[in-house]
């Protein structure tokens, strides 16, 4: 997604976040944005809220990247900072005396953790196709969900 496209997407996601229901066209749009922002499609289930959940997750990801969706920073290229590593829900990793879940895991921590604990990749839903570990921090601790490697 190029810079201009990213700006449009950010504005649109904010609009969609404020809606309670979506048309068929909007659902198709959410599918496209989900693939671009989250690297995955909208969940496949007969759940009423799946599109709303996808929009909320995208909105949360953009906010988490410290690029709030306010009018005065639409020019920041948030899409370019899209996360590469996503933890699975229902697991927790302890690293450098902090707990990480899918909510607060960052690419930097994920790289360091996986460099030290390659088998911990099972706690991730999405990792880059060819992860290039860098900054593998020494002295971190494997998480309680990953006691044995």
């Amino acid at each position: 997604m190029d810079r201009e496209g990213g700006d449009v997407a950010r504005m649109r996601i904010r609009e969609l976040f404020g809606q309670q229901s979506y048309t068929a066209e909007e659902k198709a749009e959410i599918e496209r944005y989900s693939a671009a922002v989250l690297g995955k499609g909208v969940r496949r289930c007969d759940c009423q809220d799946r599109y709303r959940d996808a929009v909320a997750e995208m909105y949360s990801v953009l906010k988490r990247n410290r690029q709030p969706l306010s009018d005065n920073n639409f020019n920041n290229d948030v899409m370019a900072q899209e996360k590469l590593y996503y933890m699975r829900k229902g697991v927790v990793i302890e690293w450098a005396h902090k707990y990480y879940t899918h909510i607060n895991m960052t690419d930097e921590v994920a790289r360091a953790y996986l460099a030290a604990h390659p088998k911990g990749v099972r706690y991730f839903e999405v990792v880059p196709a060819s992860p290039a570990p860098k900054g593998g921090k020494k002295g971190g601790e494997p998480g309680p969900a990953a006691p044995e490697e």
Partner: protein
């Protein structure tokens, strides 16, 4: 051992340093059982899960019970079968609501055969156990058979439900007396569960 070890390996003694207390905390966690990634679950011990991985896109739902005795009526009974004794769990849930949303999204799904896995937080958490702190805090119901709707009612003038619904979820025939979720510490398990509530 192919035929299973049936020798007890622990005595029953009074715990003076971390006295047992009754009751449950107000917030529980409900998961659609078919959205739990059982193939990826890891065990800390026979009756302890160390993680509760969900399938992609799935999330947990809060099960909040107000009042001074939340989840009052949660019981486990052991029942003799022809081969072995099985555990039956019963979990009453009060829903102080009567709305199209709660009917369509929760009650009707359960009426149609929905199966849940529910995690409740005990007031007794075993935090003083140096070797496995917090191991008693979070108990899993429905791991083996799923919690299904066994009965329910709506009494518009009930003081117990503020005129709302009361449902009873049940798991029958579980092969073990209890399952716990323990990600290594109370804080880790709490963080794991709270994170599942966010999409």
């Amino acid at each position: 051992m192919a035929n299973c070890d049936v020798l007890i390996a622990q005595g029953i003694e009074r715990n003076c340093s971390d006295p047992y207390v009754k009751g449950l905390e107000k917030l529980g966690y409900a998961f659609n059982r078919e959205e739990v990634d059982f193939a990826s679950i890891e065990f800390r011990s026979a009756n302890e899960l160390s993680s509760l991985p969900l399938k992609e896109g799935a999330k947990g739902y809060p099960l909040y019970q107000a009042g001074s005795q939340p989840f009052n009526g949660v019981t486990t009974t052991l029942e003799e079968g022809s081969v072995s004794v099985k555990a039956n769990h019963e979990l009453p849930v009060i829903i102080p609501d009567d709305s199209p949303e709660v009917s369509a999204n929760f009650i009707d799904k359960m009426m149609s055969g929905g199966e849940l896995l529910v995690v409740l937080e005990n007031k007794y958490k075993k935090l003083a156990d140096a070797s496995n702190p917090g191991s008693s805090a979070f108990k899993v119901y429905g791991y083996h058979q799923g919690m299904v709707l066994s009965e329910g009612s709506l009494d518009k003038y009930s003081d117990d439900t503020d005129g709302g619904w009361t449902l009873t979820l049940a798991e029958n025939g579980a092969p073990v007396s209890a399952m716990f979720l323990n990600a290594g510490s109370y804080s880790a398990t709490k963080a794991l569960l709270e994170a599942t509530l966010t999409a």
